[in-house]
Symmetry: C2
Subunit: 360 residues, 2 copies
DNA sequence: ATTGTCTATTTGTCTATACAATAATACTGC
DNA sequence: GCAGTATTATTGTATAGACAAATAGACAAT
């Protein structure tokens, strides 16, 4: 029986729940007609007013539509809520690095398709990300673009599950989380780092230092690319000049690593900076020590941020495109496309400027 | 009579409308009890089910709350929707100038108070602003932080009215619109420019060029400050070295003005750049011509953006605070504070670096 | 002073019934 | 064939009445 008359649960509510289950389980499918009020009356033995109360509530929350004389139909929610939605985007800090470019790419595409973007800064901390999460859920976002924080994998996983549990799709931008079935848009960091390191080797450098943040999947991949390039040229890795520490770093942390690295500068001729902002810090630190780049040390970065401080050879990442693609992907999920998690990898390009000296 | 039985308008709907009017007109005020269903029955002569239908609808759309045994009460909508809202922020471009800093200030304060921010880029064009407007209204934003576009006043006015017509409060950030009664958060551009110009004069400069975008209220005020400073020292304004054109400019536009200004460099010893990004372009152009700053030309900017290119003496604007204050102000309006439009003016500070040569 | 019980009131749930409005469909007359 | 008409199923609006559940407040018991 559909209705348990002896239950303390109101009968209209029992009917309402039953109808929702049928819809969710696909017994009544989108655009199908549900039984008429009369038929529901026969099915359940309830009065028409009670049935109207149950159905009315479902109309209110957007499960059903009623048409006079034609009957009551299941609303195609996918179709409805794909129209104009709000999407949350969580980035470390809108003021730094590639965040502005990424946000702009995402926002342009969102605006083009009449969707809106809620901006959240995480400062690379899961605590802040978590605070944003509850707010975003309340604001009824339909999807999330997330740049994982520089915290242990487990923290990021829990954050994402908050959304997936509620059927809110999540796309990871740039950074990924290992062994997690989530959509992901990134650039080919391995290949990029391999190319960049190979370029240094081609320029005659064999002892190449590297400094990066191993809490970030992107930079771990760059480390692998660096190692692969060295291996290809039978150059052993010198662990003394590989600085790959995990953690969300402040400028001061980096500066310490950099100055210790600069003290060992007899061990290398070039530095591979994990991203352009590190390269910038290295440049400043070198200047203070009276060192010339590329005269004394060659330097490459990664990102191609729009600085004007000095002429850095670096790997250009298509960040604007990365933002756009992330948004397109999340929208396709919001529109109901389901299937295997997708991984979109964009190409990077070496930008040769004048921070590398040819040794040969 | 409240109900017209002969009207084709359903009676529950008449009652519903009547109740809404009473609430909107303040007959029933927030947290007041409305008549009980029984009393409404006596007042209208309708059956209780009909009354319940009317009241039920108002409960659904958030006008009323029912409490068993206690009666039905008017919801304090101000209090309710002040809880967690969405606020739109329209800035020229999240990638450039002070936009990231301003957005971060606003977002931090929003997050702190559990509100969310929808980011919109206008590219300083009213056409884009307008497209965002419709979207924001559909997304049911409760307030707008708007940096007016570099378009004629009338365009910005129309944009703002789209919101005010719908009782959505608007706060102008940084730039203002003349003769318009809107809340406004800004820095004291007149005083800042006056101080900055006075500083140049104190350093021995008497012939000071200025280049700025007169489509922006902020830069117009800076021009006035500049003129006031010259007047205070009985220095006549040389119109040949005052470049104050109106319009949204591209980098190329500025570069043209700059090169024509640099051709006339016998007429001045210092340049006041309308904002730091112009100063940056002047610096680059000067370098290309082999000119030294401050050796050949002294230069000051306005904003104190975080560049690292060169050491620019400039006027620090508290942009992060400006974002925060804008958000606080809009929230107070959303919470229902009404009264005269407010104007919050933040102090700027001269940051003395090394782009100005002392001539005395 | 606290706890339990009762009462009155108000909203919550439910039944049974009636007629109105709407629109798809079948039918009728030309 | 086609325009107009009648039929009919379905939701929309409305009434009258009943009992259930919750709770403020009064009162009683401990």
């Amino acid at each position: 029986m559909i209705i348990d008359k002896s239950s303390p649960i109101p009968q209209y509510f029992q009917l309402q729940t039953w109808l929702m289950e049928q819809i969710d389980q696909g017994v009544f499918r989108p655009d199908d007609q549900v039984p008429t009020e009369k038929e529901l009356g026969q099915l359940t033995g309830l009065a028409r007013a009670t049935i109207r109360q149950a159905v009315g509530n479902l109309v209110n929350i957007g499960y059903l539509v009623r048409h006079r004389r034609l009957g009551t139909y299941v609303l195609d929610r996918k179709k409805e809520n794909g129209k104009r939605t709000i999407i949350g985007i969580l980035i470390p800090d809108i003021r730094t690095g590639y965040a502005p470019e990424l946000a702009r790419g995402a926002e342009d595409e969102a605006a083009r398709q009449s969707h809106s973007l809620i901006l959240c800064n995480t400062d690379d901390s899961y605590i802040m990300a978590d605070r944003h999460a509850d707010r975003l859920i309340e604001a009824q976002v339909s999807g999330i673009i997330f740049i994982p924080t520089a915290n242990p994998v487990e923290r990021n996983r829990l954050f994402i599950e908050k959304f997936t549990k509620r059927d809110i799709p999540v796309v990871l931008a740039d950074r990924t989380i290992p062994d997690m079935a989530v959509d992901h848009v990134t650039t080919d960091n391995f290949q990029g780092a391999l190319d960049l390191t190979s370029y240094l080797i081609k320029m005659g450098h064999r002892r190449i230092a590297i400094i990066l943040n191993s809490a970030l999947s992107t930079e771990r991949e760059r480390l692998e690319g660096y190692q692969a390039a060295l291996a290809q040229h039978d150059i052993p890795v010198d662990p003394e000049i590989v600085i790959a520490e995990a953690g969300p770093f402040s400028k001061e942390h980096y500066q310490e690593y950099i100055s210790s690295l600069l003290e060992r500068r007899d061990r290398y001729t070039a530095i591979f900076a994990g991203h352009d902002r590190i390269a910038q810090l290295i440049y400043s630190a070198a200047q203070e020590l009276g060192l010339d780049i590329p005269g004394d040390i060659s330097l490459v970065g990664y990102d191609d941020l729009p600085f004007t401080t000095f002429s850095l050879t670096t790997m250009l990442q298509p960040i604007y495109e990365l933002g756009r693609e992330s948004l397109k992907l999340i929208l396709s999920r919001i529109r109901g496309e389901n299937g295997e998690p997708r991984r979109i990898v964009l190409k990077s390009n070496l930008v040769e400027r004048s921070s590398v000296k040819a040794l040969n």
